[in-house]
């Protein structure tokens, strides 16, 4: 019976939407804004996570060896690194190689006049660990060895980025919650208005033997439509906006990694679409209850 009346429910829902045109527009607007802000946060979060991951991959420890370190002290150091469980890969850079690298980096002529014997650089080990958090323990162990002069590690950057990602996620969640409550309230209000305007119709439906489900469905569809229309707008903005942003980054900031377009849109849509539909349906369910008691 419900399937047979599907077209009727859709038509009734459409009638309700147009009857309260301004309220419907307001609801769609709030849902759209809420989901757009949420979508932007999702995209931002996806990209910041990508950057964090890339940086975490690149984190390395550089342990400089004192020039006057004894052979046995140097052996202690190489043994520690070679046998350490947290070390993923290690590279020994001699002071000569470091000098050549520096010359290459600064360009020919920049170090003209310096003889290899005057090389102020030191031998070093470039160490990459399995997990970024492991750097802290390894640094402590390295610093205890007499062969080790200085240890350099940009761990603060990773720590900062991780904290930023977490803060961003919390902010997005709090903001979304606030916007979701507002959107649900507005949808519920719009549908309540429709229900009030159609209370006579509902009463007649009850008198002629309509079931509660039959009465509820047009309003449920109305909420669903509000949610869907409110979802399409931010999705379109994100689709075109993110495409343009990727193009812009590709031109001016090519070194910056970005989440690929398809992955980003699919990921955002998979959150926004069910959320928009959910807001519409929950909003409509909130509003009809008391009018069914005839």
């Amino acid at each position: 019976m419900l399937f047979r009346n599907f077209a009727f429910f859709i038509a009734e829902a459409g009638r309700g939407l147009f009857k309260n045109g301004w309220m419907s527009l307001a609801s769609i607007g709030v849902v759209a804004i809420a989901l757009l802000i949420f979508g932007i946060f999702v995209l931002l979060n996806m990209n910041v996570e990508l950057w964090t991951e890339e940086l975490r991959e690149q984190i390395e420890i550089v342990a400089f060896i004192e020039d006057d370190a004894a052979a046995s002290e140097r052996r202690d150091l190489s043994d520690l690194i070679a046998q350490h469980d947290d070390v993923r890969e290690v590279e020994f850079v001699s002071k000569g190689e470091a000098f050549e690298d520096l010359k290459e980096m600064l360009g020919e002529g920049a170090l003209e006049g310096y003889e290899p014997e005057e090389n102020p650089l030191r031998d070093s080990y470039v160490i990459r660990v399995i997990e970024p958090e492991m750097v802290f323990g390894l640094i402590d162990e390295l610093e205890e060895l007499p062969a080790v002069g200085d240890v350099i590690c940009h761990k603060e950057i990773v720590k900062g980025l991780t904290n930023f990602t977490q803060a961003l996620q919390s902010a997005a969640l709090a903001l979304m919650l606030l916007l979701a409550i507002t959107a649900t309230f507005l949808i519920a209000h719009t549908i309540r208005l429709t229900v009030m305007l159609r209370s006579k119709e509902i009463m007649i439906m009850k008198y002629v033997g309509a079931t509660d489900t039959f009465i509820r469905l047009p309003f449920l569809f109305e909420g669903l439509f509000l949610g869907i229309i409110g979802t399409v707008i931010p999705l379109a903005c994100i689709y075109y906006g993110y495409g343009a942003m990727i193009e812009l980054i590709g031109m001016d900031l090519a070194f910056l990694p970005v989440v690929p377009f398809n992955e980003a849109i699919t990921g955002t849509a998979s959150l926004i679409v069910p959320l928009g539909i959910g807001l519409g349906v929950v909003g409509s369910l909130f509003s009809i209850g008391k009018y069914l008691k005839v």
């Binding site: 019976m1 006579k200 002629v208 033997g209």
Partner: protein, 227 residues
């Protein structure tokens, strides 16, 4: 078809219907008469299970309405056609849409609706107005649309609560004759009314309510003779 035993209804302690015991058989035409506040509408509301009895028992179609579950109420109401004093039509819709409304909720197919709506309208003499907007019809015509909506589901019973309250005497008698014709088809008709003339002319069973109690019940009665 309707059996009431010591049926009582109170609203916030105030008695609206007291110790009513009566029965209405299939195919009967019954007027429920009495002054305002006598309990006529309360009785009809109990029959369609808009309200539930405070005490006593009311059986409609053999089922105790006080014990009906929510889902069973819609089934009960599909077997009862309702006609109201204030018509209760959807003003922004056509005559066809108003009558079709009652069929749609029962899950009738499009073809069935297209077949049965004109038949119901023909029965009340309004087939020619099938595509007219309800808001453009006279009071009598609107009430006949209400009647068509009540009969289109082929109910076993028609309940009319002051159906002629807003109509002139001629239109009142037209409507009463329509109800009589419908009753002639075997449908039970119960009419709550103040209209003495109509009651007197039709010479049907009259149940007289006063002060929430049944004070008279007469087959082929008249408005005052039932007292």
């Amino acid at each position: 078809m309707i059996e009431a035993y010591n049926l009582t209804k109170k609203y916030n302690g105030k008695v609206a219907l007291s110790q009513v015991t009566m029965s209405i058989s299939r195919g009967e035409f019954v007027f429920i008469v009495g002054p305002s506040g006598a309990g006529k509408s309360t009785f009809l509301k109990l029959v369609i299970r808009e309200i539930i009895p405070t005490s006593g028992m009311l059986k409609v179609f053999g089922r105790n309405v006080g014990r009906l579950k929510r889902g069973q109420v819609s089934v009960l109401r599909r077997n009862i056609g309702m006609v109201f004093q204030e018509y209760r039509l959807l003003d922004e819709r056509t005559v066809f849409e108003n009558v079709a409304f009652a069929l749609r909720v029962t899950g009738a197919s499009k073809e069935e609706i297209k077949k049965r709506v004109p038949l119901a309208l023909e029965m009340v003499g309004l087939k020619h107005k099938i595509n007219s907007m309800v808001s453009g019809l006279s009071g009598g015509e609107q009430q006949r649309v209400g009647l068509a909506r009540a009969i289109v589901n082929k109910p076993a019973m028609i309940i009319a609560d002051e159906p002629t309250g807003n109509l002139d005497p001629d239109t009142t008698m037209e409507l009463m004759h329509l109800l009589k014709d419908i009753n002639g088809m075997g449908i039970t008709v119960i009419v709550a009314t103040h209209d003495r003339e109509a009651v007197d002319k039709l010479q049907k069973r009259v149940v007289y309510l006063d002060n929430s109690e049944v004070v008279g019940d007469e087959a082929r009665g008249a408005y005052l003779r039932a007292l």
